[in-house]
């Protein structure tokens, strides 16, 4: 049975799941939920995701939402297929979980409003909050210094191998890198090295093609 993913292929959270499925060679079908017309808030979608967000998956009778939970589920269920995303031991897995949780609490909390103001609002003809953007950039600089330091002595966030911890950052980072703020990553030696390496992965390139960001 093919996994059905409800979402928009250009949106960061559905991309997180798609990237996991691509890394794990798991077949899927995308059912487009149109965010521009707020389809995610309509009754039909609320039955799948009661908070009115994307993505949600249906896999036979099994349903799940929250992109990181979905990615962890498939990474566990198909642990011996495709890329191993959850580390080689319990201790390693916990470090993978640690950096995946860092993405939620320290990275996304800054990058989401930055992308909203720099990319989404202009597209919708809304005003960007310039004061907020400057505040967020300062905070992001502090966080990226910590990441850069981690990547100075680790090839990937959780150690020598590409894991869920790296994957979970990539969709939002992709958006950030398409703005002027990309300098904040490019000017940090280790972050830049890491970003070039993770985006050279075939699964990422496939995803970017699917989303129309690469020809």
């Amino acid at each position: 049975m093919v996994v059905k993913l409800y979402g928009q292929v250009t949106a960061a959270c559905p991309q997180r799941v798609l990237l996991c499925l691509l890394e794990k060679d798991i077949e899927f079908e995308i059912v487009h939920i149109d965010l521009d017309t707020l389809e995610q808030k309509k009754p039909e979608h609320l039955l799948r995701q009661p908070f009115g967000q994307v993505p949600a998956i249906e896999d036979g009778n099994f349903k799940l939402f929250e992109s990181r939970a979905i990615a962890r589920y498939y990474a566990t269920k198909h642990s011996d297929q495709g890329t191993n995303l959850l580390g080689k031991s319990l201790e390693h897995r916990a470090i993978v979980d640690q950096w995946t949780d860092v993405e939620v609490g320290y990275f996304n909390v800054l990058v989401h409003p930055l992308v909203m103001n720099l990319v989404i609002k202009p597209r919708l003809g809304e005003e960007c909050d310039a004061v907020l953007v400057e505040e967020l950039k300062v905070k992001l600089g502090v966080v990226l210094d910590i990441y850069d330091n981690q990547l100075a002595s680790n090839r990937f966030l959780a150690g020598d191998e590409f894991t869920m911890a790296d994957l979970t950052h990539m969709p939002a980072m992709g958006y950030l890198m398409r703005t002027d703020i990309n300098r904040m990553v490019k000017d940090r030696v280790n972050m830049n090295r890491w970003w070039e390496e993770v985006t050279a992965r075939p699964a990422w390139k496939k995803l970017m093609k699917m989303a129309g960001f690469l020809t």
Binding site: F51, A69, I70, Y73, T76, A94, I146, Q150
Partner: protein, 215 residues
């Protein structure tokens, strides 16, 4: 060597503490004096580079992020105490889903209420009334979704208590106590019953008894 949890008097570390107590795992705690800025000192930053609590040290092994610690403890001690991860991969998926909801959707507005109502004067920043009002509205909307869900499910991930339920304990304890908004919980029949159930668990009572902030 016994596992050590840093910063037990604060809310986030209590996610780890309640899990350790539920699983009957021996541990020690190390106080961290946030008022004196101990969390910004090099010795602490070596354990937790973002300068927040908790940090956990288990022999040579270091881990931070309270929910990552919860998962680590629940998995390492799977065969003792209640199974907080569910019995199947699918049940674990549901646990991860609601654990992520807590992190991405429930806790952010609750954290705003915590900081601006409980800690603004102590931490020396002006309490933002507009943010308090918006955060309460956001949290109320989230709790409406919880109410509908808990009318069909005894606990968040199913008919078993899991990490997802426990993760809500520390900050919700603030909400019904010092934040002064117990009505948000009490006015919702199923959320209220769920709250009464999980907050009366012996492991949570022990956590509060031993590690509440000294008066």
């Amino acid at each position: 060597m016994v596992l050590k949890v840093y910063g037990p008097h604060f809310a986030s570390p209590k996610r780890a503490l309640v899990t350790l107590i539920e699983k009957g795992v021996p541990f020690e705690t190390v106080p961290v004096d946030l008022m004196k800025g101990e969390h910004k000192q090099p010795a602490y930053l070596a354990l937790q580079p973002f300068g927040t609590v908790p940090a956990v040290v288990d022999g040579d092994y270091k881990i931070f992020e309270s929910r990552a610690v919860m998962r680590y403890v629940a998995e390492k001690y799977r065969s003792q105490g209640p199974d907080l991860l569910g019995k199947t991969v699918e049940e674990r998926g549901q646990v991860e889903q609601w654990l992520d909801v807590e992190a991405t959707t429930y806790n952010p507005p609750l954290l705003n209420l915590t900081l601006h109502i409980m800690f603004a004067s102590v931490m020396g920043f002006p309490s933002d009334e507009k943010l308090i009002k918006e955060s309460e509205e956001k949290l109320a909307a989230v709790l409406d979704v919880y109410e509908a869900h808990l009318s069909k499910s005894k606990y968040l991930a199913g008919d078993f208590v899991s990490l997802a339920d426990l993760a809500h304990l520390p900050f919700t304890d603030y909400l019904v106590g010092p934040i002064g908004k117990a009505y948000l919980i009490k006015d919702r029949k199923h959320v209220s019953a769920w709250w009464d159930d999980i907050s009366s668990r012996p492991a949570w009572k022990e956590t509060l008894e031993k590690y509440s902030f000294p008066a």
